[in-house]
Amino acid sequence: MIHVWREKAQKRCLEIGEPKPKQERFQYLPLTHLKLAAKASPENAGTLASIEAYRLPEFAHCLVFVDGYFSPTLSSLPKDLVCLPLDQAFQSYGLFLQNRWTKALKEEQDWFSALNAAEHGRGAFIYAPPNVKAGLHILNILTSDALGSPRLEMTLGKQADVTLVQTHVHLQSNACSNQAIDLTLGEGSKVRWLDMALLDPSATSFWSARATLKRDARLEILAFTDGAAVMRSSFSVELAEENSSLSLQGLAMLADSRQAHVHALVDHAAPNCTSRQHFKAALAGTSHSSFEGKIFVRPIAQKTMAYQLNNNLVLSDEARSNSKPNLEIFADDVKASHGSTVTQLSAEELFYLRSRGLTEIEAKSLLANGFCKELIDAIEIPSLRAPLLAAMKRVLANSHAL
């Protein structure tokens, strides 16, 4: 069954066409250097003796991908969630998946996301039955420099509540990944997705998150990264039914020549929905970030509240940041705003701190810390804080301004 869908996705890929530098959604990506590696083989899961070192102490359950292939043997899956390899899921959840994929492929505009649908390894399927509350660590291991294409399909029943934390492990340099996550949130359900893309500096990493929210559903995404040779996040969220809400936040802390790019589309397709986007980047060295976001409010989506904010703090002369927020509003009773800043440390704030006894370096470090910590402090999982604070310190150490 799944091979039929791979073929359809392949066709869609060809229709969309490979990314070109002049296309809006790829204009800031260094496409000239982009070469995706050959596809990884599924054979490497067996070579991993133990994954204990990569586990998070706060999570009893872990879903493991190795080189893009879901590994049921390495995973320890919670009983209250249905977790299956995607091809098996087609036997029990075929109708749902076919409907979902038909719509998704038709609407997909992003080549990387469509490519994953065609080329993904052994995908994983998660179903959270109604009223279930669960937490799950998703561990993405790449053992080689071949292209891994992990795929996760997840659907939540009414009032289900799932917290997911994803971490990444690269065992070799030049790791290459093109991940897709596809979420369907049933009525009143809730997903909190925490992505910890702390990556090898030589890695090429693409990931796409797609989500559809039914009535009263809530999706919270908090995505951290320290960037990579190329790193791009693509978000596309449809607020499909009334009173659903989205919080989409991200922080990139970029040192050296690392890059992180964000493309976000929020589609308000029903009345009374709320979306808040806040993406931040702190840049040192010769790093590069970009943000391109769009809020789309359809004619039916009255009483929409939609906010989008992108703040970039440039800490060196050579770092650069591009920002392009967009609003397209076709309903008349809407509260929406977008904003973007690209700034250096404020001279007035520095003077204020120095007049209180802090040296220039202490003052700069406190301000840059404050910029990052606004989002880091939103994390409630203790074991994740140390690696993020370490990434922040690397940026400060690499900062020309300090």
């Binding site: 001279a347 007035e348 704030e349 204020y352 120095r354 040296t359 406190l366 301000l367 404050g370 402090d377």
Partner: protein, 240 residues
């Protein structure tokens, strides 16, 4: 022996002269008020004393506790016992007020203080300024009202215990109740040998913080000096 002595101070910003030969001497324990119309150079004087990098001193000297103040960095001036309460205190996102205050306290005292000891000290000073404990956990000045920001400035004065405190229009934007809290905080905090330089537009604040001397700053120079009654005269007749 003066605590601070300003001699023939000339200063400009972006090439535009603001101070044009200002002289002022303050002894230990004295309260001086500087009044004057908008644009006279009052806030410029405060910022120059604190070491704001945007102003250029073109002529003159400033001696503070026997040291050449103009040769010192802002943080060195603060460590020497000079404090300026900002007219417009800055908001610092992502840094809690408590963390900021403790970092500054440690930097100024150049000694470590335990978390518990600092919390005790902070709670005592916040009570003095009638500030609720939550103002320790919030980001520095972020979402504070005008009055709360000014209280937070005087809270810093309370913690750092400076020899010279410069209050730059601390009364602006305050209602009468908030002003009384701020003024009574200032009065209770002051040691007999510490000094105050109160910069204000209006005589109102001086009903609560009684100055020994009142100076009128106009066109970049001190034009008149008198006692507290001068403030009343200015209130009645204006600066002209």
């Amino acid at each position: 022996m003066y605590l601070i002595e300003i001699k023939n101070l000339h200063a400009s910003i972006d090439g535009k002269p603001i101070l044009k030969g200002l002289n002022l001497q303050v002894r230990k324990g004295e309260i001086h008020a500087i009044m004057g119309p908008n644009g006279a150079g009052k806030s410029t004087l405060a910022k120059i004393l604190a070491g704001h990098p945007a102003y250029t001193v073109t002529e003159g000297e400033i001696w503070f506790k026997g040291q050449d103040l103009l040769s010192l960095q802002p943080e060195e001036r603060a460590a020497l016992g000079l404090f300026m309460s900002f007219q417009y205190p800055l908001e610092i996102a992502g840094v809690t007020n408590r963390h900021f205050l403790k970092t500054a306290f440690t930097a100024l005292r150049k000694t470590k203080i335990s978390e518990a000891d600092f919390d005790t000290l902070l709670a005592e000073k916040m009570a003095l300024m009638e500030m609720r404990a939550e103002f320790g956990d919030r980001s520095v000045n972020e979402g504070f009202s005008g009055g709360e920001k000014k209280r937070n400035e005087i809270l810093q004065m309370a913690l750092f215990d400076p020899d010279l405190a410069i209050l730059d229009e601390t009364d602006s934007g305050l209602d009468i109740d908030a002003m009384k809290v701020v003024a009574s905080g200032v009065n209770r905090l002051r040691r007999p040998d510490s000094s105050l330089l109160v910069i204000t537009h209006y005589q109102r604040l001086l009903d609560y913080i009684r100055p020994d001397f009142v100076h009128v700053l106009f066109d970049g120079r001190i034009q008149r000096t008198g006692d507290a009654t001068l403030a009343l005269e200015l209130e009645a007749k204006g600066y002209a």
